[in-house]
């Protein structure tokens, strides 16, 4: 067997199981959904159906889809940004300043809230953010005359809830990247006379970018389609595209439209990646 053939064998052997699994459970069903999205009625309903692009055009024709999508994208941007601002320093602190057993323990503790049930967790946030909730009580304990504090049913509340749900992704992926950076690299730079900030900016941060990018992807992409935190924490302010897609499946039983909206969402995400791709490629993150 030639080295190239051996290599191909290795590639297939390594990626085969995962992708075969994905093909059977996701790609094929989604392909069926794609087919469904260009029909005029759901394929489960007996009777004739025909090809139509109307479901995709609806996105542009109905007045509320564009603002709804824009907010959902913005929500993704804010959540990712704040997750980065909160999470990256935490990852850095954990990777570079904590030594020994504590590091493992903290690493695990950061992930643990993830394992709680999302609905219960988000309801718990309402208990913290609402009038008469934890923060309100704390504020009044210190300043008894302060006006009632309530963050609930506002856009910031949604962002807080989302950041809380997703920041562990950022912390852990950045940690994983930062931790791989050899301390001796930093010391070498310092001994060459670089200030701490320069060391960080020109050595550490660029090397940790794969972690930042992965974390951002894992946060931004699902947040755009999320609806639970927006609904419970945002109240009337919490309309999202994800919610509308759900309604096509639970209320109108219009699967073709729901499917078309989902693929439109996917297309938007891919578009954003296409725009960022040259930047990432230059950094050697993605190839």
């Amino acid at each position: 067997m030639s080295p190239r053939q051996r290599q191909i064998g290795a590639i297939l052997g390594l990626t085969g199981p995962a992708y075969a699994w994905l093909a059977l459970t996701i790609f094929l069903p989604l392909a069926a959904m794609l087919y469904c999205s260009v029909l005029n009625v759901s394929p489960l309903i007996p009777g004739p159906s025909h090809f139509t692009l109307q479901n995709y055009l609806a996105f542009f024709q109905k007045s509320f889809y564009l603002p709804l999508t824009w907010w959902s994208v913005l929500m993704g941007v804010w959540t990712t940004l704040f997750s980065f601002l909160v999470g990256y320093p935490a990852a850095y602190a954990l990777a570079k300043r904590i030594k020994g057993r504590w590091r493992e323990a903290l690493f695990l503790l950061i992930v643990l809230p993830f394992w709680s049930n999302a609905l219960v967790r988000i309801f718990s946030w309402t208990m913290v953010l609402r009038q008469g909730g934890l923060i309100d009580m704390a504020v009044h304990a210190v300043f008894p005359d302060a006006p009632a504090f309530s963050l609930l049913f506002t856009y910031p509340a949604v962002v807080v809830g989302l950041v809380h749900s997703y920041v562990p992704y950022m912390i852990l992926t950045c940690y994983v990247s930062l931790q791989a950076i050899d301390d001796s690299l930093m010391e070498a730079a310092q001994s060459l006379g670089a200030a701490n900030w320069t060391v960080f900016r020109r050595v550490v941060f660029p090397l940790s970018l794969p972690g930042v990018v992965s974390g951002s992807v894992l946060i931004f992409v699902p947040v755009i389609g999320s609806f639970m935190e927006p609904r419970i924490l945002g109240g009337a302010k919490g309309a999202t595209l994800g919610m509308n897609i759900e309604e096509q499946f639970t209320v109108t039983a219009n699967w073709p439209l729901g499917a078309a909206l989902s693929f439109t969402l996917l297309a938007i995400v891919l578009l954003i990646f296409a725009v960022l791709y040259p930047v990432l490629k230059r950094r050697g993150i993605w190839s």
């Binding site: 590639i11 990626t15 602190a93 690493f107 993830f114 609905l119 562990p168 940690y175």
Partner: protein, 273 residues
């Protein structure tokens, strides 16, 4: 060998780091504390003032549905984590080690599972399995299909997270091992694995979380009578879930925390160099 000034700088930095981490942990755990506290509160509607009562834990002990749901969730999540972590790490290794045509496309294909709302994927899976499984004589609902769905949703996370770790992987180390006469297998186990371990562990933790809290797939593919914890919670929404849910969530968190801390005590996977 650092000077006194540098050491002070580092100590100050360490102190700041510890404080910051404490704050972040506080942020992460505030709702967890609230959730646990409400498990001990008498009001079924989370009403304050707080009245200590163990009634929810007592009624949880007799709530067979919730208990079996919790057990199913754990069982599926563990299986899911093992499978997804192994398969995902393998794929991530392939992406990192080899360049080949189609690699970009395959990486791009990881996006649909995390972009498209789970309700859509779940419905697609349900219909697809409903059409295809009977053709091979298998029931399309059951623990096996739930597991199929969970692993599929976990795989992208595993591949991306391990991939991030591998991007910083110094390939020269592997090459050095090879020149010193190590077989590929030895190289992997004794050189590569410890280095990528943090990424794999992080990925495994995410995979567990993805499965444990996964509602939609479990909901669609569960046969009647079998349920997982998120499904039991969400379907009780119409009438109202009682703080028994808080009780079981608290128990799970406490158990997981204990298991994790004990594991961390004895097994080092932080990837120390």
């Amino acid at each position: 060998m650092t000077t006194g000034a540098a050491r002070t700088r580092i100590d100050f930095g360490t102190a700041v780091a510890k404080v910051y981490l404490a704050l972040v942990l506080l942020f992460l755990y505030v709702p967890i504390f609230v959730m646990a506290a409400l498990a001990f509160n008498r009001s079924p509607l989370y009403e304050l003032p707080f009245q200590f009562d163990l009634i929810w834990f007592k009624s949880l002990a007799t709530n067979d549905r919730l208990l079996s749901a919790g057990w199913n969730s754990v069982y599926i999540a563990v299986l899911n984590t093992v499978i997804a972590t192994i398969l995902g790490t393998m794929a991530a290794l392939a992406f990192s080690r080899y360049t080949f045509r189609g690699r970009g496309l395959m990486q791009l294909l990881l996006l649909p599972p995390i972009t498209i709302p789970w309700l859509v994927i779940g419905t697609a899976m349900l219909v697809f399995f409903y059409w295809t499984f009977p053709l091979v004589g298998l029931p399309f609902r059951g623990l096996h299909t739930i597991l199929l769905g969970h692993v599929a949703l976990s795989l992208p996370y595993v591949i991306i997270v391990v991939g991030a770790r591998l991007a910083d992987f110094p390939k020269s180390v592997e090459e050095a091992a090879a020149t010193l006469g190590a077989t590929p297998w030895q190289t992997f186990w004794r050189v590569s694995a410890p280095i990528i371990a943090p990424g794999v562990v992080a990925a495994g933790l995410f995979a567990f979380a993805t499965s444990f809290d996964q509602f939609v797939i479990s909901y669609f593919l569960a046969p009647p009578g079998v349920t997982t914890l998120p499904v039991a919670i969400y379907t009780s929404i119409r009438k109202g879930f009682t703080p028994e849910v808080n009780a079981i969530s608290t128990i799970i968190i406490v158990i997981s925390m204990s298991v994790m801390l004990i594991t961390a005590r004895f097994y080092k996977f932080g990837g120390e160099r």
